[in-house]
Amino acid sequence: MAESRGRPGSASQRPTGGDKAVLSQKKQYFRRKKVCRFCVEKIDDINYKDVKMLNGFIAERGKIVPRRISGVCGPCQRRLADAIKKARNIALLPFAAQI
């Protein structure tokens, strides 16, 4: 535990995003393990046309939410990012939104 506190940058490379304490350098506490929404609900098709679903994964300004916040697994996050970028290209989602 001691080494991880001294190197906050390496925390993001850890496979599980559950340990929020290291990222914020506060007292040790454990956030419950977030599960990938797509794997649990068994949604295979992350379509760029499904704007309602994609809206749940972009921030206010239109930025893609990072994996450690949304709890999405690796492969799904890649597919999600691809879908969001395609949707941005065809003006279904903004590149940069005004808040």
Partner: protein, 151 residues
């Protein structure tokens, strides 16, 4: 032959006829090159997420088709030339469809395997739950000596 999906946006001030005309033109391009149209979907007028060529709205049209790969270049060229089309996106979807099919089959097989693997132990408990009262287990008879009043 690959499966593609074309989504393009037509200017909002175009009439229904013009929209249909453009769709017919594109369908013609695909069919003359030896492709088949799988489906055509008109989404109608939608608000764009950002301004495209000074427009804030547009009519979206989705065409899914199967064709040899060279057709895409010709189709995109025609879309680029058409004034009324302000944006287009071509996506190749045959690999995605294949993957989805595989996943679906996998899931169905797994569900079937689960159903056949545990029917015997599963059914009685489910039935008992549905009835509400658990079945009383038969109490084994204890070999008891005839009870006599103790002196």
């Amino acid at each position: 032959m690959r499966i593609y999906e074309e989504l393009f946006i037509i200017k909002p001030d175009a009439t229904e006829e013009e929209v249909d005309q453009i769709i017919e033109q594109m369908k013609g391009v695909i069919t003359t090159a030896g492709g088949t149209i799988d489906k055509v979907d008109k989404w109608g007028k939608r608000r764009l997420a950002y301004r495209v060529d000074k427009h804030r709205e547009g009519s979206y049209v989705l065409i899914q088709f199967t064709s040899p790969p060279e057709t895409v270049k010709e189709l995109e060229r025609r879309l680029r030339v058409t004034d009324a089309v302000i944006k287009f996106l071509t996506v190749r979807i045959d690999e995605t469809l294949k993957r989805l099919e595989k996943r679906k089959k996998h899931r169905e097989k797994r569900a079937q395997r689960k159903a056949t693997a545990a029917p015997a132990p599963a059914q009685p408990s489910v039935a008992a739950q549905m009835l509400g009262t658990p079945e009383p287990l038969p109490v084994p008879e204890r070999p008891s000596a005839p009870t006599e009043p103790r002196p």
